[in-house]
Assembly symmetry: C2
Homo-oligomer: 641 residues x 2
């Protein structure tokens, strides 16, 4: 492996020999009074060795910590004759580099109190940390830093790093003094996380994810200025390409399937595989999205006459740049792309590694379709080597994240995406409350459809709440019989269990999404108790009451605080298509922005346009000449052929 440096951060985990160079700012304390033992020890412990044995063990593994003594305030350490190979140096940067290369080291980590390289002088408007630095870029950047280390110090570091790189050693320059990070900075770097600046000789062919974000932003802005018909045309063209280029798509998909065979379980393989019929129905879906896109961007929601010749308009506009993260299923790609195109949003797509061949061709076709109106760059496919966690941190670049996949994926992304809103739901714990005045005929039908039709769906029933009066009635027996026939495993809630002589297994938690032919049954004394139970254990997704009493039903509809509340209808209606929203973006349990099944409008926001002559607010002051009118004006109906 040696002789060639690593091209990507994701390869750093393969480094066999690592040199860690700790700058004086790392090994000394902020108050300049001696060694920062805590920091030092926690850095050393990342390799899980105790302080005493560390040096010996590190040497044995060719990991050499270099203690900087040229500018430290502590007296130079006495040479420890017992530790051959531990070097106390003065010209630290270049020596570290030389040493790393001579030892045929894979990776040199230079820790000091600087974050890495910046592309502009520190403090300037555009100063951004450079994630990957290529030798060829040397002329074009200013070696700014955001710390007290001057430009000179940074230049020496860069020089040394380039020298090491030429010798085949990869380099990362990062901050080793940050209190919240220094305990795991080395581990993070080796795991490929975007910490500091990574020096790479191999410039990847494609753009960086930051460049892709900018392309999606500007491409999206162009897309938004097209006529609705033009956006629809792009989607129709993509639909055509999906069927026209079927053979190529299926060939790429075959490659993915071959590579995945034996490594993926059968259900995952099934989700990964495409077929002619899948492509056909995908094309039909796209044409539906095209149809519903006609009235999305630029719709006037409100018009107000503020004063004479001063008119205000609120119009729909795209949210901006979406990041959609999806697993396995490559058919997600054209679907999501069509939704973004229909709503005029820029899009970053992050698919799974297992579908990379399929995704690549589907993305090429999407860009081909976008080209017909010159907006090819609005949809970007992010390289599979980019970590989802890193993407979730690009809050300046991405306005909304939409995870498409398992609830585990959604949960992980909600955790990682600090600062960027995530649309979706991680849980669907749907309840059905069977009231004392429920109709015998309806209950069984509704429970069966809600639980058994497709138990893995997020809108499937998980907890059945039964009014106490129904216990030991024919209605109750009928439900239990049906569940037995359908082979639904019953878990008893604590109260239900206490009513039974022989109870089924008691639930571990009343807050469980089984996603399978399993159902929790609990007993409640009243509609109020049912509502309280739902508020306490539910996930605000979809909750249903079954009753013939309209008053009780309306009480339930009004008081249950969930995205969807139904009366005498299956939980499974909670779905964008069934709601008649046209294209479905997803189901949101958030209380901000879109809620419940989300159609295209969930990908839109609004802006306010004000058209005046030379209107100033001072004319409207107490002694001014004008008064606010605030008249509602009619909204023009758009021609939707």
């Amino acid at each position: 492996m040696h002789g060639k440096s690593f091209a990507h951060r994701s390869e750093l985990k393969h480094a066999k020999r690592i040199v860690v160079k700790l700058g004086s700012a790392v090994v000394t304390r902020g108050d300049e009074c001696g060694l920062a033992l805590g920091r030092l020890a926690s850095i050393v412990e990342q390799k899980r060795r105790n302080l005493n044995g560390t040096l010996h063990e590190l040497l044995r593994m060719n990991i050499v910590p270099i203690v900087n003594t040229n500018d430290a305030v502590v007296p130079p350490a006495e040479p420890n004759s017992d530790l051959q190979g531990v070097i106390s140096v003065k010209d630290n940067d270049s020596l570290a580099a030389r040493l790393a290369v001579e030892m045929k080291t894979d990776l040199l980590i230079v820790l000091s109190d600087v974050e890495g390289l910046f592309d502009s002088p520190p403090g300037s408007d555009d100063a951004k940390l450079i994630d990957i630095f290529y030798p060829g870029d040397q002329q074009s950047v200013t070696f700014g830093t955001k710390s007290r280390v001057g430009m000179g110090g940074m230049e020496a570091k860069v020089k040394a790093a380039l020298w090491a790189l030429q010798g085949g050693t990869s380099v990362v320059i990062a901050n080793g003094t940050h209190p919240k990070v220094s305990g795991h900075v080395i581990t993070d770097i080796v795991e490929g996380k975007k910490v500091g600046t990574f020096f790479s000789e191999v410039k990847p062919a494609g753009p960086t994810v930051e460049q892709q974000g900018e392309m999606a932003r500007s491409g999206g802005r162009l897309l938004a200025t097209l006529e609705p018909e033009q956006r629809a045309e792009i989607i129709h063209h993509l639909a055509d390409l999906l069927t026209d280029q079927r053979d190529e798509i299926l060939l790429a998909n075959k490659k993915d399937l071959e590579e995945a065979e034996g490594r993926l379980a059968a259900p995952l393989l099934k989700r990964l595989s495409l077929s002619t019929s899948k492509l056909n129905s995908l094309a039909i879906g796209l044409r539906q999205i095209a149809a519903s896109s006609q009235d999305s961007v630029g719709r006037v929601l409100r018009r107000t006459r503020i004063a004479k010749d001063l008119e205000l308009e609120q119009v729909t506009v795209p949210i901006g740049v979406l990041l959609v993260i999806f697993e396995s299923r490559p058919d997600c790609l054209p679907q999501v792309a069509a939704l973004a195109i229909a709503s005029g949003n820029g899009l970053l797509l992050k698919g799974g590694k297992e579908a990379s061949h399929s995704n690549r061709i589907l993305h090429l076709l999407t860009q081909e379709a976008l080209s017909i109106h010159g907006v090819k760059e609005a949809v970007q496919l992010v390289n599979t080597r980019e970590e989802v966690e890193d993407l979730c941190r690009l809050d300046k670049m991405i306005d909304l994240i939409i995870p498409r996949g398992s609830s585990q994926l959604v949960r992980n992304i909600q955790k990682a995406a600090k600062g960027i809103p995530v649309m979706g739901h991680s849980e669907g714990i749907c309840h059905m409350y069977v009231d004392s005045e429920a109709s015998v005929d309806k209950v069984t039908r509704l429970v069966r459809d809600s639980k058994c039709e497709y138990p893995a769906a997020c809108n499937a029933l998980e907890t059945l709440l039964i009014h106490r009066d129904l216990l030991r009635t024919p209605l109750f027996d009928q439900i239990i019989d049906m569940l037995r026939v359908e082979q639904v495993k019953i878990h008893a809630g604590p109260k239900f269990a206490s009513y039974l002589t022989f109870s089924p297994s008691e639930v571990k938690s009343l807050r469980t999404e089984y996603g399978d032919l399993e159902l929790c049954i609990e007993v409640v004394d009243s509609v109020q108790e049912a509502i309280d139970h739902i508020h306490k254990y539910g996930s605000s997704h979809t909750d249903v009451i079954v009753t013939e009493n309209e008053k009780t039903a309306e009480f339930f509809l009004q008081h249950v605080d969930s995205a969807c509340v139904f009366w005498n209808a299956s939980t499974r209606f909670s779905d964008g298509y069934r709601f008649g929203l046209g294209a479905e973006v997803g189901i949101s349990t958030s209380r901000i922005h879109a809620r419940g099944p989300v159609g295209l409008e969930g990908l839109l926001t609004t802006k306010w346009l004000l058209r005046g002559q030379d209107h100033v607010v001072s004319d409207f002051s107490e002694h001014g000449s004008l008064k606010y009118l605030h008249e509602s004006l009619p909204i023009p109906q758009r021609n939707t052929n």
Copy 2:
């Protein structure tokens, strides 16, 4: 001070003598191979002493680390005769407590690998970490833990803690092994942060903030089920109370002013002070909010016939629980409370310490008004000792945070509020682009109003972009003359500076909100360059074009991607009242949920109500008996007298 334990975490910073007890899980490594030196050293360094001198210095200050040796896998440390007072113990918990009390210690910090005390068995549905534990509660909780330490270990800890507490020593039990926290856990505890479980003998009179959150949630739910007229009544009643109880309010406000005198600057004192006229105009504002509240909650936005007898309705509902954080100005309180009441939301209010007397009485009056419809608890005033940062972490309890105050406050809260959306804007960098076809008469008027009328406002002008062709024209001279008369300090953008022989000071950053009589001027070559500049340096708040060319204007309106985009109108129109939205909640630059000036609807979300007979989705399958109709139904007009 000794003899009485601390009542609140916020007092812990006054602790003079601290005993830190490190459990074996803290001092030994996860792999059970020796001492966790890194962790240990970083814990010790929180007191900023080097490892060698630490024990001596700690002893001198009566801070005694106790190394647990009864169950550790390392051999017991040899007694170090040089260090009198360092104790190696076997029965560690009770000994630590005894020692702490005997030494008249203020605070005993017990660090092990448990998070603290839980109120239910670990893993159960409701298990929550107990923030403050009172001796009287001992019977009612289960001493569950989430770690490998069994119940027995925890019971011993609690027993020891209660023993110490009786002796006048406060106790905190916390986790000292968490890699991201152990470096500053002691500092955090002493600073009053909510880490682990704090033992207190003094039960505060009021509820905990968690209990307040629950009260706001259930109170808000009740509020939402009232009739719109009832909510309006409450607000009217509050408006009456503000004038009726004027004397009491002003008396409380006088107390605040007296206590603040000499400690607050004049402008802050002014913001803090109330007056009869302020209360009167506040009451008028409240009545306006009451009026606009009539059509907020329960408004039907969409009705769809899904199938025969299956009708879907999308209705507006409150968001849930709002946390409003405001500084100085006590008049914020009734205003914000009225907005929450009008929109049926529960509310947690967090005011500044400096206004505590005023806030207390205003909150009492709010609750009095709420009582007329039995929803007193919907609005809660959080104790001033609660830290804003701690509140921003209560993501299970709060649905939306609204900061009301300086942009610094907004930025801090946006940073702290991981996981909870924040409504507002931290920056208002508004631009005005003067096109080559701008009218001479209009420009000066518009610039003056935008920049000079109220320069501290977020919608004031910060950057003037001038088309190159206008340089050295009468129009340009007229603008500069006006700015001189108005004493506006000009900062030149780099391009503008390059055109001038004698340039004013060049801008430090093109992304500056001056909030004062200062203005950046930059030159652009075209409307496109103006748009690019705005996208690069703006804050998406409000941006204006001045031109007589309608085509250019519409191009600008369509392409500028900001919340408010104006043509020939002052930036200062960007305001909820001026837009005719009724009550203003704030101005949002977010792209999710409300954007631009936000009225009451920004405090609302929607839910979906589906009313059926016994509808199941399987009837709509390919071979089913039913077909989806998806007919739009007319929306009933509500009676708004």
